[in-house]
Structures are given as structure tokens and as C-alpha cells.
């Protein structure tokens, strides 16, 4: 929640005008106007206009987005927006995806669901990312909201298939159940049979993260009685031989995630599959493709011309097979692949997929230094040249050069998201052995709309100077193994006007830059620094200077209370909050500025 509380009200001419306007301008009209304003930022701004607009806005707000679950108190949020229908909350810092955030860190959904269960009986949608959701939470959802429709759990954890059974059994109007990449305690596949026969409302089901086998007949029956099913993402255990029966029952599918794409090579299986795919005239997106047997790939050729989204990033198929499919997809907008595609395949993409907006290339063998495939910077350069609508790039590779980066930047000034991961930390320009400062400098120079950037390779303070000067629209920056001195961090904090999220690991950034830019941190959602050079003392000073920041120090080595101020902290997470410090942390996390005795007392007091 970005908006602070409304300003103190003083009687001014403006207020007088507004209130007289208010009397001839019924609330209902304003509400109606506001219903067209959906962006969270805009709604927040509307609420700041004056007290009456604040009140009207809060009563008609239907969707809320909380980017950091600890920035606000759930009770206060729910009290402010009693008619909310859709809640989206994010928990752990992004680096939790890479195991940098220790277990037990927090991000519990329970306090939120408690408030919502009490106060929002009409809640319809919950979307969570990187939060800890227990079966108890799911049970509460299942029994508290009569109209519950949408549950999206993205990279969440803490629940089991028992909790899913509760959702299936009780949410009569469930439209969307999406478990994308969550870590589910998969006890069995039986939960799916808890969907009652009367449940026909499903539009979207994503169970791709589950490992257990589900009863195929239960799945089949569920699909058959869900005429509005548009998105179906199966898990690996669903056998390819039987996929055709599911497709027969859901020819209206728009997005399909297959299970394992392998079976014994049999002509009847092949024919059935080909036939089934050809009936899916609405299909626009494909994903899944674990364990691909290439002989079965032609079965889906008939849908390729309509595809706008293709995710082959689990498909360990070689370049010719990948390339063949992709060249049949002229309407592709989003493509995810493994680096098996190689430069030749990406060259083909640049020629065939003129509508491409988003490209993600993942490494097939990230932990070996030897390149196992011929994928270099050239592939990305080609795509940047040929795909004029390209906006978003995630690219893992083993070599990069300043000249390639510069070409990419010049080719594609419309890039909004550029994430490059050169696998070896601190790898220089492989041609000149220089740092990649000028290459990334070119990116931020040309791509003026860049909102998200991830750096890698050998980088000095200079690249941060470029970023600070030029990346004015940059909102999220990820830095690893880069920079020389505090100056690097200072450039970023003092220069990037739009910065909201900054995450840094293994960089020689320390106290000076942090303490010189304390007020910047309150304009951002959060800052993560791990394995850097920030001292405990600096964390304490930061916390003293900025009372509305939670300065959380994570240190699994031992007792923080007895450490000298000069010692470096393992990990630091700083975020603005109107909720004050949290008390649900494990013992190795401390909020600076908190009296330890008070903390222990508060921890005991809170349930």
C-alpha cells in the first residue's frame, strides 16, 4: 500500500468548494466514475484528494494490492476497505527464489486470512506470491467466503494436498485454482476428487507443480463438466497416451500445459494426439513438455500457427526439433526455451517470430563451466535485430561482449525488462577482457523505458554511474558480484528516480553509501543486501535515522546481541512500513532499534 494516511484537514476554500460540489454531486456518481479507475496507483491518488473522496473511494475499492505483506497491518487494511473482493499480497523478497532467504523467515498468510474471514464475507479472489500458506489458511478460505472464485498461489509453500481438498470441496463457484511453482506437500492425488459433481464453474486449473499421480478418470470427469475451462496445466504424472481424451472433452481450451510428453512410440497414440490437437481451434498457449520424445512433436504442429505463447523450457530437445516447431509459430509473442535452441534456433526465431515480445532462454546445464551447447551472445543479438517488438528478455549464457550489448541496445530501445545472466560470476567481455560496463551502459542509455534490469559479468563502479545517470524509469535492479566500492551503490541510490526494489548479493557495498541515502529507502518498497560489507552498527544507525523503515538483519551464525558493531551482517532487508516492526521472525532475524526484551514480550503476547 503506497498511500499514507490522508493529510490533516484544514478548512480551506478548496474544501468549501468541494463540499458544495459534493452536495450537488452525489456519491453514487463519484463511485461510478471511480469504477473506471482500476490502477492501484491511481486509486491511491484519488483517495488523497480530500476526505470525502477518501471515504467514497475506500467504500468502493474492490481490488487491493499489497506488494510487501509487512508494510501494512492486515487489520488496518481490511478495516479501510471493507468491500474488497480481490486481494493480492506478496511476501518474501525475490531472492527467496534462489534460496538466499533462510527458512522460517516469515511471510505468513495466516494473519491476513484471519482478518478477511471475519470482515469480508464477499471476498472472491486471493492471489499470493512467496507466502507461507498453511492448510489451516486454506480451510479458512474454503469455509469463509461463499462467492470465492479465484485462488492463485505463486511460489508459495506450507500447505498440502489436504488443504487443496478443502478448497475443492467447499468453493462451489471456484473459477480458478492456480498453484504455479508452489512447494506443495503432495500427500496424494485424491484431493481432486473432492470437487463435487455439481462444480462446473472451473475456468482455470494449474497443477503443474504437483508430483503425485491423480486419478485420470476423476480428472477427465472434472474437465468434461467444466464447459468454461480455458486454462489447463497438468502435472508431469499425466500420461501422454491419455492426453487426447482430455482434449476431446475440452476443445475450447486456450492454454494447455501437457504432462510428460513421452510415450512408447505407437501409431495409434500418435494419431489420437494429432487428431485431438487439431480439434483445439482456440489454443493459443502451450507449456509443460517434460521428458519430450521428439517423435511426438509433430502431433501439435496443427496448432502452431495460432500460438501466441510457447513454453518449452523443460523440454530437453535439441536445436533442430525446437527450431522446427518455432518456425511454425509466426504469431508467437512469448517464448521460453532451454539453451538447446542454440544460436541457430534463435536466428530462426528472429526470422519467423516477428511478433515476439518476450524471450526467456534457460540453461540446460548451469553447473558446468564447459558450454554444452552452442548458445552465445549472438543468438540474443539476432533476436534483438529481427524481433522489433521485443520488450522483455531473460537470457542465460556463458559469454557476452560489450559490442553485443551495444548492438542489442541500439536494436531494441523499446526494451522494458532486460535480465542477463552470464553463468560465471565476474566474467569479462570475452573478446576484450574488459568489464561489461559500457555494454550495460548502452542498454540503459538507449532503452529509456527500462523498468527492470539484472546485471551480471565483470562490472566496476562505472556501470552504476551509467545506471544512476540514465536509468530514470528503472523500478527493479538486481546486482550480483559487481562493483568496486560504495560509490557504485551510491550512484544507484542517488540517481535512479523510479527505483522501488533493489536486491544485491556479494558486492563490496557498505555503510557509506547506505547512510548517505537513507531517505531514498523510504521511497522504495525494499532493499536486500546479502554478503556485502554493511556493518551491524550502520544498520542500527540507519534504523535510528529512519523510524519508518524496518531494518532487518539476518544472521544465522550466532547471537547478534553479542556482536560488535563493526562486524558485517550476513543479510540485510530494509523496507518501509506503516505497521512498525514485525514479531513473527525466527531468532536469527532482528529488527534494528527494537529492544530485545520488548521483542520477546511482544512475541509471547501475539498468537
Amino acid at each position: 500500500m503506497n498511500a499514507p494516511m490522508p493529510p490533516q484537514q484544514q478548512v480551506t476554500n478548496l474544501d468549501v468548494n468541494v463540499s458544495s460540489m459534493g452536495s450537488s454531486f452525489p456519491e453514487e456518481v463519484l463511485e461510478h466514475v471511480l469504477s473506471f479507475i482500476t490502477s492501484h496507483t491511481d486509486r491511491n491518488i484519488v483517495s488523497l484528494v480530500c476526505k470525502s473522496w477518501y471515504d467514497i473511494e475506500r467504500w468502493c475499492r474492490r481490488r487491493i494490492f499489497v506488494g510487501n505483506c509487512y508494510a501494512v497491518s492486515p487489520a488496518i487494511v481490511i478495516r479501510r476497505f471493507p468491500e474488497v473482493r480481490s486481494v493480492e499480497v506478496k511476501g518474501k523478497p525475490h531472492f527467496a527464489d534462489f534460496n538466499l532467504v533462510p527458512d522460517g523467515w516469515g511471510g505468513y498468510f495466516y494473519p491476513w486470512i484471519c482478518e478477511m474471514a471475519k470482515a469480508c464475507p464477499w471476498l472472491e479472489e486471493i492471489r499470493l506470491k512467496r507466502m507461507v500458506v498453511t492448510d489451516e489458511c486454506l480451510e479458512l478460505i474454503a469455509k469463509s467466503f461463499k462467492n470465492f472464485k479465484v485462488l492463485v498461489l505463486s511460489s508459495c509453500e506450507g500447505f498440502s494436498t489436504d488443504g487443496l481438498a478443502a478448497i475443492a470441496a467447499n468453493c462451489r463457484d471456484l473459477r480458478e485454482l492456480d498453484l504455479r511453482e508452489s512447494d506443495v506437500e503432495d500427500l496424494s492425488g485424491r484431493w481432486l476428487s473432492h470437487f463435487p459433481n455439481s462444480c462446473t464453474s472451473l475456468q482455470s486449473l494449474n497443477i503443474s507443480c504437483l508430483s503425485s499421480e491423480i486419478s485420470f478418470s476423476v480428472l477427465q470427469h472434472l474437465i468434461a463438466r467444466s464447459p468454461n475451462l480455458k486454462t489447463l496445466r497438468l502435472n508431469r504424472a499425466v500420461p501422454l497416451e491419455k492426453l487426447y481424451t482430455l482434449l476431446h472433452r475440452a476443445p475450447q481450451l486456450v492454454e494447455l500445459g501437457t504432462g510428460a510428453y513421452s510415450a512408447e512410440i505407437r501409431s495409434d497414440v500418435y494419431t489420437n494426439l494429432t487428431d485431438a490437437f487439431s480439434r483445439c481451434k482456440e489454443l493459443k498457449g502451450l507449456s509443460g513438455f517434460w521428458d519430450v520424445v521428439p517423435s511426438y512433436l509433430p502431433a501439435l504442429y496443427s496448432v502452431c500457427s495460432r500460438l501466441t505463447s510457447l513454453n518449452l523450457s523443460y523440454a530437453t530437445i535439441q536445436s533442430p526439433d525446437v527450431t522446427k516447431i518455432i518456425t511454425l509459430c509466426p504469431n508467437l509473442q512469448s517464448l521460453s526455451v532451454l539453451d538447446y535452441i542454440e544460436d541457430t534456433g534463435l536466428n530462426a526465431v528472429s526470422l519467423s517470430c516477428k511478433d515476439l515480445r518476450e524471450l526467456r532462454v534457460f540453461p540446460s546445464d548451469p553447473f558446468v563451466a564447459d558450454a554444452n551447447v552452442s548458445l552465445t551472445e549472438q543468438g540474443l543479438v539476432d533476436v534483438s535485430e529481427g524481433c522489433t517488438k521485443l520488450q522483455s528478455v531473460l537470457y542465460f549464457c556463458r559469454q557476452m561482449s560489450n559490442s553485443a550489448l551495444s548492438s542489442i541496445a541500439k536494436n531494441r530501445p523499446n526494451l522494458t525488462c532486460f535480465r542477463l545472466c552470464i553463468l560465471e560470476p565476474r566474467a569479462p567481455d570475452y573478446l576484450t577482457f574488459e568489464p561489461l560496463d559500457s555494454g550495460f551502459g548502452a542498454i540503459v542509455d538507449h532503452c529509456k523505458q527500462l523498468q527492470r534490469l539484472s546485471l551480471s559479468g565483470l562490472l566496476t563502479d562505472r556501470v552504476f554511474e551509467y545506471i544512476g545517470k540514465r536509468a530514470k524509469k528503472l523500478e527493479m535492479l538486481s546486482i550480483a558480484f559487481a562493483g568496486d566500492t560504495d560509490l557504485g551503490l551510491h550512484h544507484v541510490l542517488s540517481g535512479c528516480d523510479s527505483l522501488r526494489k533493489l536486491e544485491i548479493r556479494d558486492c563490496p557495498f557498505g555503510d557509506k553509501a547506505l547512510l548517505a541515502n537513507v531517505s531514498k529507502l523510504e521511497t522504495m518498497r525494499s532493499l536486500w543486501m546479502s554478503s556485502c560489507s554493511v556493518s551491524l552498527g550502520a544498520c542500527k544507525r540507519l534504523s535510528q535515522k529512519m523510524p519508518r523503515l524496518n531494518v532487518e538483519v539476518i544472521d544465522e551464525q550466532g547471537d547478534l546481541d553479542s556482536r560488535p558493531d563493526s562486524c558485517h551482517v550476513e543479510k540485510l532487508y530494509v523496507y518501509r512500513s506503516v505497521a512498525g516492526p514485525r514479531f513473527d521472525m525466527p531468532s536469527f532475524i532482528r529488527t534494528m532499534g527494537q529492544n530485545p526484551a520488548y521483542r520477546r514480550k511482544k512475541k509471547k503476547a501475539d498468537p
Binding site: F95, D97, F98, N99, L100, D103, G104, S155, D183, W290, D291, S313, Y314, T316, F362, P363, S364, D365, P366, F367, V368, A369, D370, A371, N372, V373, S374, T376, F396, R398, Q399, C421, L423, E424, P425, R426, A427, P428, D429, Y430, L431, F433, S454, L458, A480, F481, R505, D506, C507, P508, S531, C532, S533, E556, Q557, C567, H568, E570, P586, F588
Partner: protein
């Protein structure tokens, strides 16, 4: 210390003008002259670059006062002698341009590798930045395919470790440990905070896990690929890492029946407990 060792290696390389494949620095870190020659390693340019890069590495290690490797304090984590760089050595990057590079067997390229377990390798936590779901998917695929002991090299498999009564699970990457001792020390650190309250006397600090296990009522068990609950330590380490899906620190009283079943004979409760202690001893 690491810096000295690596510079020593570097000097050795100066004398080897053949295209030895052991690298201590970064891929592509060759001086221009060598580039023209068609690329052999070693030499002045590289030394400077590597030294420069090394400063960064060692600075980071010192400053962080932690280690590269997850939860592995004080061990030789980024072992430059063993692997070179963090990923292991790299071939001449020129060869990459010619087409698909054939990955040569790793051991042939490690002339200086000491007798270390090939299955584990120093890895930086969270790098490259790939989500667990993807890592586990790829790892699952590898274990499916081959019985080749090299198949799991470099892969990273997180298994959950739960402890009866603890407020949350931990996840550990088995591939970063090379023995049961390593693992047990790491686990002891992770879970000691949960037990301090219960067991104030931990005995000698030399073998804290042993004390902990003996003095307390806990044993270390795991669930294998077939879903069976086993005592940790029963099988050779490599077999364990390949088959362990999940670990559980459970109360001895719950585990006694397990030991009896595993032994395949009927035993008295007391001798079962002795078996468990023997298992724990063999771990440590």
C-alpha cells in the same frame, strides 16, 4: 591463503604452454597474445586479470565472514585448486564458436585435482539464479536417466528436513556435503536452536550431534525414493544422496520400531535402541 595457492598454480601453468585446460580464473580470461596463438592458458595477462578478479573474490569471502557454500562454515568452499573458478574449468572459448562443444570428461581436465569425492563440488548458493522448481525438475530428469555417478554432478537437490516439534522445516542441498559427518554437523547447527531449550547439557562440544542424539530422544531418518522410512547412515553416502527424498529428525521412541523392521528380526526395545545408537555412531 587461497590467493597464494592459486598464484602457485598459475606459475605452474606458466611453464605449461600446452593448452592445459585447468583454469583458475574466468572463462575467456586470456591475454591478447595468447588469443592470436590460438589460445593456450597461462601467462602474464591472465595472471593480472585473475589477480584482479581474485582480489574481488577473496575480498568478498573475507568481508562476508560467511562462505560461498551454504551453511558450510570454515570449510574450503571455493577450492581453487580443485575446480578453478566457481564452475570448474573452462575450455578455450574459441572452440565454442565452432559449433557444439563436446563436453569432455571432467576428470581428464583436472590434472591437479586431489582425491576428492567427484560427486560434490563447491557451489555458490543461489547462483546461477534458477528457481528450485526448475532445478528439481532438471535433477529429477537426471536421476531418471542414468546410473552414471557423474549424472548428479553439479545438480542441486533440496530435500526438506523436518524435526518433530520444530516451528518450521529446513531445506538442505545434499550435494554440497561430502559425508555423513558434514551433513550431521550442518544439521546440528540448523536445529540446535530448537533443542537448546529442551536439553541444557549438551555434553562435550566435540561431537555435538552425537551428544545431542544420545542425550536426547531424537534420531535422524529419511524417506527414500520408494517411500520407505530409513535410518540415516544405513547405506553408503553416495547411495544416500541419490535416494534421499526427505529427512526427518524424529523421536527415538517412534524410531525404535523402525530399527527392528530394518533389522528383520525381532528385538527387545533395549537392543533396538542400541542399534539406533550404533547407526548414529556410524554416521558420525
Amino acid at each position: 591463503m587461497d590467493q597464494i595457492t592459486s598464484e602457485k598454480h598459475l606459475h605452474t601453468q606458466d611453464l605449461n604452454l600446452k593448452a592445459t585446460e585447468l583454469r583458475l580464473g574466468l572463462p575467456g580470461s586470456e591475454s591478447p597474445e595468447r588469443h592470436i596463438n590460438g589460445g593456450s592458458c597461462g601467462g602474464g595477462g591472465m595472471k593480472n586479470l585473475v589477480a584482479g578478479a581474485k582480489r574481488g573474490f577473496s575480498d568478498t569471502i573475507n568481508i562476508a565472514s560467511g562462505t560461498w557454500v551454504f551453511n558450510d562454515n570454515g570449510k574450503s568452499e571455493v577450492n581453487f585448486g580443485k575446480n578453478g573458478g566457481f564452475l570448474g574449468e573452462n575450455k578455450n572459448p574459441n572452440s565454442m564458436k565452432d559449433g557444439v562443444v563436446k563436453s569432455s570428461p571432467k576428470h581428464a581436465n583436472h590434472p591437479q585435482v586431489s582425491v576428492a569425492a567427484p560427486a560434490t563440488k563447491a557451489q555458490v548458493v543461489g547462483w546461477p539464479p534458477i528457481r528450485s522448481f526448475r532445478k528439481n525438475s532438471m535433477a529429477a530428469k537426471k536421476t531418471k536417466n542414468v546410473d552414471d555417478p557423474n549424472a548428479e554432478i553439479g545438480s542441486c537437490v533440496y530435500v526438506k528436513v523436518s524435526m518433530d516439534g520444530a516451528p518450521y522445516l529446513r531445506k538442505v542441498d545434499l550435494n554440497i556435503y561430502s559425508s555423513y559427518l558434514d551433513l550431521s554437523l550442518a544439521l546440528e547447527k540448523m536445529f540446535s536452536s530448537f533443542t537448546l531449550g529442551q536439553h541444557s547439557t549438551l555434553g562435550s562440544s566435540e561431537n555435538p550431534l552425537m551428544d545431542f542424539l544420545n542425550g536426547s530422544e531424537y534420531v535422524l531418518t529419511y524417506e527414500d525414493k520408494d517411500g520407505d522410512l530409513m535410518l540415516v547412515g544405513d547405506v553408503p553416502w553416495d547411495m544416500f544422496t541419490g535416494s534421499c527424498k526427505r529427512m526427518r529428525i524424529m523421536k527415538s521412541s517412534d524410531a525404535i520400531g523402525l530399527a527392528c523392521r530394518v533389522a528383520g528380526q525381532s528385538k527387545t526395545a533395549a537392543s533396538c535402541k542400541r542399534s539406533i545408537q550404533r547407526c548414529n555412531t556410524s554416521i558420525l
